[in-house]
């Protein structure tokens, strides 16, 4: 089992969710996050002139998938979240020791 953490543009959440559903990845947790990459912040409009915002709004998707599904899932995310501009985001893949479904107590791969 692997945990995929994808930090993407907020407006790409829906296309990514649909693409993941199509390949059988249903479960995911989504949060609104603020972050920055190499592009740093951006300038926003103030009453006169502008000010810099150092962190930009992003969406973080967390999904735990079977080892054999990792490639498909990553492909789906990259395909749908990419614009080619700076700020498309990042994906991190982490090992997962175990998973437990709280309702039934199922453990391991059958719990995800």
């Amino acid at each position: 089992m692997k945990k995929i953490e994808a930090i993407i543009r907020p407006e790409k959440l829906e296309p990514v969710r649909i693409a993941l559903t199509e390949i059988g990845v249903f479960g995911m947790t989504v949060s609104e996050v603020s972050g920055r990459g190499r592009q740093m912040g951006i300038a926003l409009q103030w009453r006169v002139g502008e000010y810099r915002v150092e962190f930009l709004p992003k969406v973080k998707i967390e999904a735990v998938v079977l080892d054999e599904d990792v490639g498909k899932a990553l492909n789906a995310i990259v395909r749908k979240a990419k614009t080619g501009e700076r700020g498309d985001g990042k994906i991190f893949i982490l090992p997962v020791d175990n998973a437990i479904r709280i309702r039934t107590g199922d453990e391991g791969e059958s719990a995800i």
Binding site: Q45, W46, R47, V48, Y51, R52
Partner: protein
């Protein structure tokens, strides 16, 4: 003789002006960081309680009571002694004096609230309350007497201020500047940390309430419900509309048509037309508003370039808007609009402009210097500023023990 129509309008106007203070609280509250929104709102809202009480106890007497040397009212009307259901023989002679008194109370409340915009996000609440009482007593009441009191020296000079360009906006604007210089910038201001306005829709709600309430402020200052109130009402709206549009265009030229910008423009136009509303032909509100937006916009640019953390630009908007509007009376005023007024430059007389200039210069200087001294006294004794860690955590938690947007569970 009490006139029922006039009384009804003045009481409604007093209620309209009352609503401007919570409106201002939202206007300011939306522009600060989320950790300081309650503190910012509180600094306005508490004055409905504090000044609302002091005005009845002694403020009205100092501002409007029997004249002492043109400088201040005496204490004959302390605790509203003799202020009742019959009209005064010098102020608003067609309404109960109680109605005039409570209308004026709302002006005192919002004037103190206005300058809080210069000192948000770093002022200790207890020290602020002490400063507010001192400022109300030493700056507001005398200036109100000079300009509006029977026998006040600026009133006798013939300086005109229909609804408070001098008394409210110049005094608050200059005081905000003095206090901002005294307090020094917020932590992180010099380092250009982002001081992001945390809720612009809140600013717009506040602007809407201010604009709405301003009809009571300006048209109510006719103190009658007839033609003059109507004229002042139209002039007020004309200036607000023209200034809002102008500010939007200025922002667009430099970058984008900003929402925060159009709201700021509306307030600049409203502040500028305040001293003029009942002395000028209504259409003159348009040039007054356009020029107000230009002046206030570039004063704000200048203030920011100067590295002065007058945080919400009370000086640029209210101070400079009020100065422009007060001088504009000397340009656009016409006795055809208000026989109690005078003719300005356009209608053939230059002397009014000189009188207006005297009002601007004296009150701007007095407000700045007196406020500096009062601020210094409070700073030396109680300390005006919160501790550094209190400022970092935010004043909502450190001063009030509350947070505006709490909770993880639904």
């Amino acid at each position: 003789m009490v006139n029922n129509g006039d009384t009804a309008w003045l009481l409604v106007s007093a209620a309209l002006v009352m609503l401007m203070t919570p409106g201002l609280a939202l206007f300011y509250g939306g522009m600060v960081r989320r950790k300081n929104v309650l503190s910012t709102i509180m600094m306005s809202f508490v004055l409905l309680g504090l000044i609302g009480t002091l005005w009845l106890l002694y403020g009205y007497s100092l501002g409007f009571g029997p004249n002492l040397g043109g400088i201040i009212g005496n204490l004959d009307w302390i605790g509203l002694r003799g202020v009742g259901q019959s009209p005064s023989n010098v102020y608003a002679t067609t309404v109960p004096q109680l109605a005039f008194m409570i209308f004026q109370a709302m002006f005192a409340v919002i004037t103190v609230a206005l300058w809080t915009g210069g000192v948000v996000e770093r002022t200790k609440f207890s020290a602020f309350l002490v400063l507010a009482v001192l400022w109300f007593t030493v700056v507001y009441c005398p200036v109100a007497h000079w300009v509006w009191g029977h026998g006040g020296w600026l009133a006798k000079l013939g300086c005109l201020d229909f609804a408070g360009g001098i008394v409210v906006h110049i005094s608050a604007g200059m005081s905000a500047l003095a206090l901002a210089l005294l307090l020094r910038p917020r932590k992180g201001f010099k380092e250009k940390e982002p001081m992001e306005p945390h809720n612009i829709p809140m600013v717009i709600m506040g602007t809407g309430l201010l604009w709405f309430g301003w009809f009571g402020f300006n048209a109510g200052s006719a103190l009658t419900s007839g033609g003059l109130a109507s004229s002042a009402f139209v002039a007020t709206n004309a200036s607000a509309a023209a200034a809002a549009l102008t500010w939007m265009v200025l922002g667009w030229i430099h970058r984008r048509p900003s929402v925060l910008g159009i709201a700021t423009g509306a307030v600049a136009g409203l502040a500028a037309v305040t001293p003029a509303a009942g002395f000028i032909p209504p259409l003159a509100g348009i040039p007054i508003g356009i020029i107000a937006a230009l002046i206030c916009y570039y004063c704000m640019v200048l203030r920011a370039k100067g590295g002065i953390d007058e945080s919400l630009d009370v000086w640029a908007v209210h101070g400079m808007g009020g100065i422009w509007g007060t001088l504009a009376v000397g340009i656009f005023a016409s006795v055809a609009v208000n026989s109690a007024g005078a003719n300005g430059l356009i209608h053939g007389s230059g002397i009014l402009l000189a009188k207006q200039l005297a009002g601007v210069a004296s009150v701007a200087t007095f407000a700045f210097v007196a406020t500096w001294v009062l601020g210094k006294i409070v700073d030396r004794t109680i300390g005006l500023r919160v501790k550094e860690d209190e400022e970092v955590v935010g004043l909502d938690i450190s001063q009030h023990g509350e947070r505006a947007y709490g909770g993880v569970s639904p």
